[in-house]
């Protein structure tokens, strides 16, 4: 294939990856920004979203469109409830102490993943896209659903932006993020805000999982990749900044798309991971908001 179409395809792939990644990483970023905890189980919420999408769409086997609509509403709700439970049963009891929380969310990762293995089984199962058509470019064809996924992810990002910057909840959230004690003193129900933010973060991951599942398949081990990529994005983008997260998602998504088309994808991943480690060491400001403790 010639360079032009080649680049176009890389760009398209990168854009799809970037949008879905942005939604996933936004969830991680919100949770870190407001609660100052690193949620290692974030990828499992993504996986749960995909698995629940399989379950919900299979309830309406003859109506893929409505099945998918059910999934896009239902899956995040269920995942949100699981997250609220995890917050109440585990994280709150640890008083959100950063290192203990990481260990606990590692535990949560295994619990969720293995619970899905028990209930859902070890197989990868496909979900039919709500609308499937194929876009034929002069040089290659492309999945139409991918454009739908881009659109849906863009809507979600817009909604998230509106929610954080223009609503009362967003204001309360930012106040809590800015100074937990003061917010509490001003009557902000911090516990409730934390539970809500944790659930919101999980729901964003779940939505990303629902969006991706017609492209991949629901499988109990699918959470690790989005987790690592979200880490990379959130760290490079800067943890306190939604804009930074989204920007970084695009940089990572598109550059990964391009690099892995022209070079070895494994090499691309090695470079990205090392870059993240170095960014975290040498440019921690705006990443972990100054000192991490």
């Amino acid at each position: 294939m010639d360079l032009g179409p080649h680049l176009l395809l890389a760009l398209l792939e990168g854009t799809v990856a970037a949008f879905v990644l942005a939604v996933t990483a936004l969830g991680l970023s919100l949770v870190f920004g407001v609660m100052r905890i690193v949620n290692v189980a974030h990828g499992e919420f993504f996986m749960l979203g995909a698995v629940l999408a399989w379950f919900l769409t299979s309830l309406l086997p003859e109506m893929p469109f409505w099945g998918f609509m059910l999934a896009i509403v239902g899956a995040p709700l269920v995942v949100g409830m699981i997250a609220v439970m995890a917050d109440a049963l585990v994280l709150r009891r640890l008083n959100y102490e950063p290192e203990a929380t990481i260990v606990a969310t590692i535990g949560l990762l295994y619990i969720l993943q293995q619970a899905v293995l028990t209930i859902y089984g070890p197989d990868a199962r496909p979900v039919v896209a709500p609308i499937s058509f194929r876009v034929q470019f002069p040089w290659f064809g492309y999945s139409g659903y991918k454009f739908i996924a881009i659109g849906a992810a863009a809507l979600l990002l817009l909604a998230a932006w509106y929610g954080v910057t223009r609503t009362k909840f967003g204001l309360i959230m930012r106040a809590t993020q800015f100074d937990r004690e003061t917010a509490q003193a001003f009557g902000v129900p911090v516990k409730l805000v934390y539970a809500a933010v944790f659930a919101l973060g999980a729901m964003l991951a779940a939505l990303a999982g629902v969006l991706i599942v017609p492209l991949q398949q629901a499988h109990y081990l699918m959470g690790l990749d989005p987790l690592l990529l979200s880490f990379i994005v959130v760290i490079i983008g800067g943890l306190d900044s939604l804009k930074g997260t989204i920007l970084a998602a695009f940089i990572i998504g598109i550059s990964d798309g391009i690099i892995s088309v022209f070079f070895s994808p494994t090499l691309a991943k090695i470079i990205a991971t090392l870059a993240v480690a170095l960014v975290l060491v040498f440019r921690p400001n705006g990443l972990f908001g100054g000192r991490s403790r």
Binding site: A104, L108, I111, L117, T118, T266, A277, L280, F282, S292
Partner: protein, 321 residues
């Protein structure tokens, strides 16, 4: 030199433990015989991890890198260059040491959560590298050391590492070596400084200690011990593969150490032993046996943060190192 009561107790406890482990090989059924040999190697890995997390207070999520550096350092040199196994072991350990120092020089500029993520990212890059260079490592599929490569003469004695008795006692020797290093270290002036850094780094600095150097030292020793365990693993069990560099092998020592008791010398062995058999037994009843890893982690941080040996120490035996 006169031995104080605490010293007598400490040496009594650990020599007793070593004696029990030595005698165990004569009564264990075959299956558990091999298991305990494996556990001893993994417990050495956990002890190495504990030096950093337990005694210096630095939580790493990337120790699989050091274990795998030892594994590949020893394994590949023996596989490709027919190195003498003892040399291979030393080379593997040295490789882990080099990685630990390199990671330390960079990652120790951070603390806390950032340190956890940085170590995890380095280890992930290392894992990906084992896949990327799969023409050498054979990636996921891995490589096997031939039986001939594991038979060697050393100081006039012949060893065959495939022989269960030899394997058990080699594993025990490794463990005892690690145990003695840990015991000497944590009771030494250097160990005292490491504990001080864990408790309050700023204060330690203001007592005239360059905390960075001590942290680097702790990380290097921790990496060295983890690497020695990795090198021993490939020699004793003949297989190396990128699974051992994966994130799960960074999480397991954390689990073992938390369960056994952070910052105790015997804790890592207790934790590794219990967890090994817990997973083994669970896998007999259900296929999603890794759920116990998750459940134990969550329960430990919630209700039992000191772990087994740590709780015993707090309740009954303050003198335990």
């Amino acid at each position: 030199m006169r031995l104080r009561l605490a010293d007598r107790r400490i040496w009594g406890l650990h020599l007793g433990l070593i004696a029990v482990l030595f005698l165990l090989q004569f009564v264990l059924p075959d299956y558990h015989h091999t298991n305990v040999a494996r556990i001893l190697v993994l417990a050495t890995y956990a002890m190495g991890y504990n030096l950093l997390v337990g005694y210096t207070g630095l939580l790493s999520l990337g120790h699989a890198m050091f274990f795998a550096a030892g594994l590949y350092g020893a394994g590949l040199s023996i596989y490709y260059f027919d190195l003498h196994p003892v040399l291979g072991f030393l080379l593997g350990s040295a490789a882990a040491l080099v990685f630990a120092i390199a990671v330390g020089l960079i990652a120790l500029r951070t603390t806390g959560v950032a340190f956890m993520i940085v170590t995890m990212m380095f280890a992930q890059a290392f894992y990906l590298a084992t896949l990327y260079f799969n023409s050498i490592t054979r990636g996921d599929e891995g490589l096997v050391l031939a039986p001939e490569a594991r038979r060697f003469a050393f100081f006039g004695l012949d060893f065959d590492l495939a022989e269960p008795v030899t394997r058990y006692n080699m594993a025990l020797a490794l463990f005892v070596g690690g145990l003695i290093v840990c015991l000497m270290l944590v009771r030494s002036p250097v160990g005292r400084v490491m504990v001080a850094i864990r408790e309050n780094e700023e204060r330690t600095r203001m007592l005239g200690y360059n905390a960075r150097d001590y942290k680097l030292l702790a990380l290097s020793l921790s990496g060295l011990l983890s690497g020695a365990a990795g090198a021993a693993y490939v020699l004793l069990f003949a297989y190396m593969g990128s699974t051992f560099a994966g994130i799960q092998y960074s999480i397991l020592p954390l689990l073992w150490v938390l369960l056994g008791g952070v910052g105790t010398v015997v804790g890592p062995l207790i934790g590794t032993l219990l967890m090994f058999y817990l997973i083994d037994k669970t896998s007999e009843v259900m296929s999603s046996y890794l759920i116990v890893v998750g459940a134990v982690l969550v329960l430990l941080v919630l209700f039992f943060p000191k772990g087994i040996a740590g709780t015993l120490r707090a309740r009954y035996a303050r003198w335990m190192p």
